[in-house]
């Protein structure tokens, strides 16, 4: 009578994010309020990405705008952040922007040569490698806080990370 728990990870902890950046060889720029992206701004030549705005409704609203209004709105948002991340060799940067629910969005421009190094470093548009390393750092941090012992950490052939925990108090 077992159950499986899954967690869709949300970035909330800057210390864990700093650890994730260190693990991937990225530079966390605490307090940097802007991040570099395409110098001419949003051109409306690709879809408005999921997760850029706080809600799906706001994303849908922006997608439904006229082209001129959408370009204006997108350029109000893009390039602004609360913290940034630099990827060695990349012209552009990654922005972390705080949300009302206490989490951070991870935004960067993967279009063209300026963002290609970021796309490679993060493993895709949704930054899976960064999210995975963040989850690993945050999970270990919280596990220790709850008195669990981390017995082992194994990097698997399929790219996953397997942690073995000995439960303590909770």
């Amino acid at each position: 009578m077992s159950h499986v728990a899954t967690v869709d990870v949300r970035v909330t902890d800057l210390e864990a994010m700093k650890e994730a950046c260190a693990a991937l060889g990225l530079k966390f720029m605490e307090g940097q309020k802007s991040y570099r992206f395409y110098s001419s701004g949003w051109q409306d030549d690709s879809p408005v990405p999921d997760g850029l705005f706080e809600t799906a409704e706001e994303t849908a609203r922006v997608r439904a705008m006229s082209k001129a209004d959408r370009i204006k709105r997108m350029n109000e948002v893009l390039g602004k952040c609360d913290h940034a991340i630099r990827v060695p060799g990349a012209e552009y940067e990654i922005g972390l922007k705080s949300r009302a629910d206490g989490s951070y969005s991870v935004t960067y421009d993967w279009y063209g040569s300026g963002g290609r190094a970021i796309l490679t470093a993060l493993g895709g548009e949704k930054a899976p490698k960064l999210v995975q390393e963040y989850a690993n750092a945050k999970l270990k941090s919280e596990a220790r806080r709850y008195g669990h012992i981390i017995e082992s950490e194994e990097r698997m052939a399929d790219g996953s990370i397997k942690l073995r925990l000995l439960a303590g108090r909770y």
Partner: protein, 86 residues
């Protein structure tokens, strides 16, 4: 001992345990889905893992043996996410 897997997309999965629940809740939105059924059947206790596209294990003389077998199968199979789960 508990195994937690963080897949290459950054999603976490583990066989549910009360001991880990508060830790997991700090990571994000947690979803929990049934992975198996342990019921008495012909000849003893059976562990049905159809929810994770797995076999029916058993029969076992003791319910505890069936429970242990299903957990071992889940771990050996890499903790598959139940059909219909996230």
């Amino acid at each position: 001992m508990h195994e937690v897997i963080i897949d290459s997309a950054g999603q976490i999965r583990t066989v549910y345990s009360d001991a880990l629940a508060p830790t997991l809740a700090k990571l994000g939105a947690v979803s929990i889905a049934r992975a198996s059924m342990v019921e008495p059947g012909a000849g003893g206790w059976l562990a049905d893992l159809a929810a994770v596209r797995g076999p029916v294990l058993g029969p076992f003389a003791l319910r505890a043996e069936a429970l242990a077998a299903e957990v071992k199968w889940l771990l050996d199979a890499g903790t598959p996410i139940p059909t219909g789960g996230k």
